[in-house]
């Protein structure tokens, strides 16, 4: 596991990967770049932190979710959304379309941990074992959070006639 203590070095090394990740969630390259840039500007102010890519991946997920859960932020993102930036899923039958609008609606029903697992599974395409290691929780917890996320999606589908 590589770890980088200088935020500027980390930005050069990991910035592009993080922008690609943010773009999968935000569906807009400019917002993705802004978000990642803002993350590293904040890290410069905290030179005591040593970062690696998994840590930064989580930070980007959380910043994206904060933006999406905010009603105004989400409205702005939806206006600028470039659907072509949605990653084609490699999950086959297990795939779910988890877009900006759905994440925003789920924000009112799921807690941060559940949303984070949802993103890890369907946008980052991690296995449940990988998610458990990534988030530092048990495999069982990952499973529970995914079940709750699936239930919330089903509730939304029922309320919106399958449109969610």
């Amino acid at each position: 596991m590589e770890a980088v203590s200088d935020p500027r070095d980390a930005y050069l090394r990991y910035g592009p990967a993080l922008v690609r990740k943010a773009e999968r969630l935000l569906r807009n390259p400019d917002d993705a770049i802004d978000l990642v840039h803002g993350l590293f500007v904040d890290l410069i102010a905290r030179p005591e932190i040593t970062v690696d890519l998994p840590y930064l991946y989580r930070a980007v997920t959380n910043r994206c979710l904060n933006l999406i859960r905010d009603a105004r932020g989400r409205a702005r993102l939806l206006e600028r959304e470039q659907p072509s930036l949605a990653p084609p899923s490699r999950l086959g039958d297990q795939a779910r379309v988890v877009g900006l609008d759905l994440l925003g609606k789920l924000g009112a029903r799921l807690d941060e941990g559940q949303l984070e697992v949802l993103v890890c599974r369907y946008l980052d395409e991690m296995t449940q074992d990988e998610i458990a290691v990534h988030l530092g929780v048990s495999r069982k917890t990952v499973g529970k959070r995914l079940v709750r996320a699936h239930e919330a999606i089903a509730e939304l589908n029922a309320e919106h006639g399958g449109a969610a």
Binding site: Y11, A17, D34, L53, A75, E79, P87, R90, L91, D124
Partner: protein
């Protein structure tokens, strides 16, 4: 992109594979999977083909104002907006008491945002090491984005983009000029690499009406901390009128 032959390699794993950060066993397993899976190989290809340039980090940490909650606010605010405004400058002209009695008031014809050398402000400037650099102002107003808009209103959020031929680069900071106010640095000095619409790191707001926003460029190191009182050589500028 088709479905994976089994469990897809996560994007994080693919990124770490590209960076050669996987441990030996994971790297071997990833290599085996990639050899057999067109979907994951295609995903890896999108990573390897992505050659985008990122905006430079600030050369110095910008000093952000503290909000009432203690959290740092995401914008650099124009210090000028916090002070009482003077609308015009006046100078008295006269050759003696008789003329003084006539009280001839002359409005200074050169507003503070006008270059002293009489040049017109332009959005492009030639800089050593970067060639011709063109400024684009990006305004976000109530969620709507406008490029090079004509006017400014309190509450608008602004960003600056620079365009110049790839391969070059320079230092830049962003200075805001408003009538009757001292020049204010809105975005701190930072190094940037040329490209199409390269974003200058940070965003800012301009309050208090009309303004001239200038990108101050320098080839040999960061521009002096104190901006000149008026726009001058090496600056690409755009004027903004006050929105009705």
């Amino acid at each position: 992109m088709s479905a994976c032959i089994g469990q897809p390699l996560s994007w994080l794993t693919l990124e770490r594979h590209v960076l050669a950060e996987l441990e030996a066993a994971a790297a071997a397993a990833t290599g085996e999977h990639l050899a057999a899976c067109p979907a994951c190989t295609a995903a890896l290809g999108t990573i390897q083909a992505d050659r985008r340039a990122l905006p430079a980090l600030p050369a110095a940490l910008p000093v952000l104002p503290e909000s009432s909650s203690g959290a740092r606010t995401p914008f650099v605010l124009s210090e000028a907006a916090k002070r009482p405004r003077r609308r015009t400058y006046f100078a008295w002209a006269g050759g003696g008491l008789a003329l003084a009695a006539a009280a001839v008031v002359v409005l200074i014809v050169r507003p503070p945002d006008r270059p002293r050398d009489g040049r017109e402000l332009t959005a492009s400037v030639r800089v050593k090491g970067a060639g011709v650099v063109t400024l684009t102002l990006v305004r976000e107003r109530e969620g709507a984005i406008a490029f090079d808009p004509p006017d400014v209103r309190d509450g608008d959020r602004w960003k600056v983009q620079l365009t110049c031929a790839p391969g070059g680069g320079a230092w830049v900071d962003v200075v805001v000029y408003q009538p009757g106010e001292p020049a204010a640095v809105a975005l701190p000095a930072q190094r940037f690499g040329c490209g199409n619409g390269v974003v200058v790191a940070g965003a800012f707001r301009v309050t208090g009406g009309a303004a001239t926003v200038c990108a101050r460029l320098a080839s040999d190191g960061r521009p002096p901390a104190a901006p000149p009182a008026t726009p001058g050589a090496g600056m690409a500028c755009a004027r903004l009128s006050a929105a009705p």
